[in-house]
């Protein structure tokens, strides 16, 4: 078969989109758009890597790229890939239809539209308050146009409304009783979704009593999705509330009304904002990721999870821990009370080492118990994802220390070995493991075009991600700040090495996307955006 023919029609006939259910289609749409946003994020990342070596952008442009990079990366890419996967997995694992396919479609459109809108505020109008939005920078109209701020806030609002709709759809799918089915009792579902049944089982075991529930109403991965979604919901409300505040100042400026920025307490605002924002990093990500590992380990091995009750209880603890850790972002804020720094910033944060350590251990032992395993794409990416968090979480615990934070805060250490290794190696490789695992299920038996390209994707992503994080971290230890402007090549050796590793990441994405397009074919790819011909609410077609 010629290359052009394979490119158009796919590998071994490619994706027959006519046979896809509406749920398969909405999942694929959401994930594909998320992967395209990942590419945009990688290009922005490379622009910044080159800038750190040889400045070629003006300050306004550079910082506007830095502002939209996490918006596009976290919301445009990660949210869409995760939400797409969960829209499929929750009904698939619960063996009941998704509550609403229409809401799932509105969700991805709103989030994609929102990410593009916020991105355009940076691209067209150089709006650059960074994602941290420290008060009163987002409403500093000496530096930014009010119209740019308005576009940025509207984009974020679209994303958050899409997020709330996704959560509603997931919660509704967990709790609703489908037509024709006997009424599903709510209490066991709530107890199981929150992980309380696992905790009760453990307590009863200690008292040598029979378990509270032998067969949980909700499987562990669904419980993780449910619990992560609680943090996602809180985060959406906090970000929306900040958006409303910004909107008041923007509209006041546009209508010629003078509003004093000092009427808002900058430190209180920072606490509120970080409480919400940290629910993404320390709640949503860690809980969703743990759930994904448990699911992947079970599916790869076909075995029951090791220490399942403990894992369930640990997810409940992680949920509560995630509500109390935000002060680690304020260890350098001297007006923040010492007790908050010690309790929330150091001690509660340290529990993330425990909860994430448990998740890694449980997953590894489950895999170990099923030896010998074939080193498939899902398995190797799963191991890469766990390695990413095994590197990034301790880096985070170290910087969440009063002594070390004094010399690490806002350096490249934070954004390199912690943030980028966690997101790029830990989270993204976990998501790629899920994508490789679900690919044949979602495409009704689709075959990957090239295993060599999949291998290149793995190694280039792993080495690129760890390498970039490591060299950024070394620059950080030598004092390089994460949001400052260096024009004299002060850290060029590290930045050149980090840039080479960053290029590996970009090439890994290109190889992955090329492999996927060649596997499903251009026709199949376009076809997933066309309405499904199957009038069913089932997750998979009957023949599959």
């Amino acid at each position: 078969m010629s290359f052009v023919n394979e490119f158009v029609n796919g590998n071994e006939g490619g994706l027959k989109h006519e046979g896809l259910t509406p749920v398969q289609k909405v999942t694929l749409r959401t994930v594909v758009v998320g992967l395209l946003f990942y590419g945009l994020t990688a290009i922005e990342g490379m622009m910044m890597r080159v800038q750190e070596i040889e400045p070629f952008l003006g300050t306004d442009h550079f910082f506007s790229v830095m502002t939209v990079h996490p918006i596009v990366g976290i919301f445009g890419s990660t949210y869409l890939i995760v939400f797409g996967a969960f829209v499929f997995l929750v009904p698939y694992l619960m063996k009941k239809p998704l509550y609403s396919i229409r809401i799932a479609n509105i969700t991805w459109v709103l989030i994609a539209l929102g990410a593009l809108t916020s991105w355009s505020a940076g691209f067209l109008f150089s709006y650059a308050p960074l994602y941290t939005l420290y008060w009163p920078l987002p409403v500093d109209f000496n530096q930014f146009m009010p119209a740019a701020a308005l576009i940025f806030v509207l984009g974020i609002a679209f994303i958050m409304i899409g997020t709330v709709l996704f959560i509603f759809n997931i919660f509704a799918t967990v709790f609703y009783t489908e037509r024709g089915h006997e009424k599903r009792p709510i209490k066991p579902l709530v107890l199981s979704a929150l992980g309380i049944d696992g905790l009760l089982n453990l307590l009863r075991k200690l008292r040598k009593k029979p378990p509270y529930s032998k067969d949980p109403a909700v499987s562990l991965p669904v419980a993780a999705i449910f619990r992560g979604s609680i943090d996602t919901l809180f985060d959406a409300f906090v970000i929306l509330s900040v958006g409303v505040l910004l909107l008041v100042y923007i509209i006041a400026k546009m209508t010629g009304t003078s509003m004093d920025a000092s009427s808002i307490d900058a430190l209180l605002y920072k606490n509120w904002f970080w409480w919400g924002l940290d629910l993404i990093a320390d709640g949503l990500v860690l809980i969703y990721v743990a759930g994904a590992w448990y699911l992947l380990a079970s599916l790869i091995t076909g075995k029951k999870l090791y220490m399942e009750n403990v894992a369930r209880a640990a997810l409940l603890i992680e949920l509560i821990v995630s509500w109390g850790v935000w002060s680690h972002h304020l260890l350098s804020d001297q007006a923040q009370p010492n007790m908050m720094k010690l309790a929330s910033g150091e001690m509660i944060t340290a529990f993330e080492l425990v909860t994430q350590g448990i998740a890694i251990f449980v997953t590894l032992v489950t895999l170990w118990s099923a030896r010998p395993l074939k080193m498939t794409n899902p398995l190797k990416f799963l191991l890469g994802g766990m390695l990413g968090f095994a590197l990034a979480v301790p880096a985070g615990i170290l910087q969440a220390d009063l002594g070390l934070n004094r010399i690490l805060h806002n350096t490249q250490w934070i954004i390199g070995p912690h943030v980028h290794v966690a997101i790029l190696v830990g989270l993204t490789m976990t998501l790629h493991s899920a994508i490789y695992l679900l690919f044949p299920i979602l495409t009704n038996g689709g075959k990957l075009w090239s295993q060599k390209l999949a291998n290149f994707h793995f190694w280039a992503h792993l080495l690129g991600g760890i390498g970039m994080g490591a060299f950024m971290g070394m620059a950080g230890l030598d004092g390089m700040l994460r949001r400052s402007w260096y024009v004299n090549g002060e850290f060029n050796t590290y930045m050149i090495l980090a840039g080479i590793c960053g290029a590996f990441l970009l090439f890994a994405w290109i190889a992955f996307i090329f492999n996927i397009v060649m596997s499903v074919g251009l026709k199949g790819l376009i076809g997933i955006f066309l309405p499904s011909k199957l009038k069913t609410k089932d997750t998979l077609p009957e023949a599959a």
């Binding site: 650059a128 008060w135 920025a261 118990s369 030896r371 170290l398 009063l402 004094r406 010399i407």
Partner: protein, 191 residues
């Protein structure tokens, strides 16, 4: 007396050793997963010991740094300690407004830096000539932003804003703003 350069070197070493060890462990696990045969499940005792070890490490890190890094306890008690020298520094319109052109500090004296932002959130960091950090804090408008510090090496330091305050503040820096004199030792990266 330990300074920031010593602590950062130690951190560099410890984290590098940890990273290499964990990468090797995962490499070994990946290799072993494809061969051999499983011999039953791990005993729960081992699992609970591992969890206890994680708790121990999480707590011990902070106890260790509290007792070894010299600026931690002073920082926590800074409201009870009377400084021997105080510098009030204003920050406004992306500029540091210093009380003197150069802040002269005597070796070993307890110095209080008292920062006040008139508009945006900034950072206040002291850096050596090679840009390595001596310390930094956030400067939040409407808040008390103070830092107590003791210097034990002679040197000349630059002030840098360590927090982003918009494109106009991307390179907020005052070269040679702080000079420490009277010590036996000299900071080789700050002279």
């Amino acid at each position: 007396m330990l300074d920031s350069a010593d602590v950062l070197s130690a951190l560099h070493l410890v984290y590098t050793i940890y990273s290499v060890a964990i990468i090797l462990l995962f490499g070994w696990l990946a290799f072993k997963l494809t061969g051999g045969k499983a011999k039953g499940l791990l005993r729960p005792k081992l699992f609970y010991s591992y969890v206890a070890l994680l708790v121990f490490i999480g707590v011990t890190i902070h106890i260790l740094t509290f007792n070894t890094i010299p600026w931690v306890s002073n920082d926590l008690k800074r409201n009870e300690i009377k400084p021997e020298q105080t510098f009030h520094i204003e920050v406004a319109d992306h500029k540091f407004i210093l009380p003197q052109k150069k802040l002269m500090i005597q070796c070993g004296k307890t110095v209080l830096f008292d920062l006040d932002s008139k508009d945006l959130t900034y950072g206040f960091g002291l850096v050596r000539h090679d840009e390595s950090l001596v310390f930094q804090i956030q400067v939040v408008p409407g808040s008390k932003n103070t830092l107590l510090w003791q210097f034990h090496k002679n040197g000349t330091y630059n002030i840098r804003s360590t927090e982003y305050s918009g494109p106009k503040g991307a390179s907020m820096k005052v070269d040679g703003a702080v000079e420490v004199v009277g010590c036996k030792d000299t900071d080789p990266r700050a002279s």
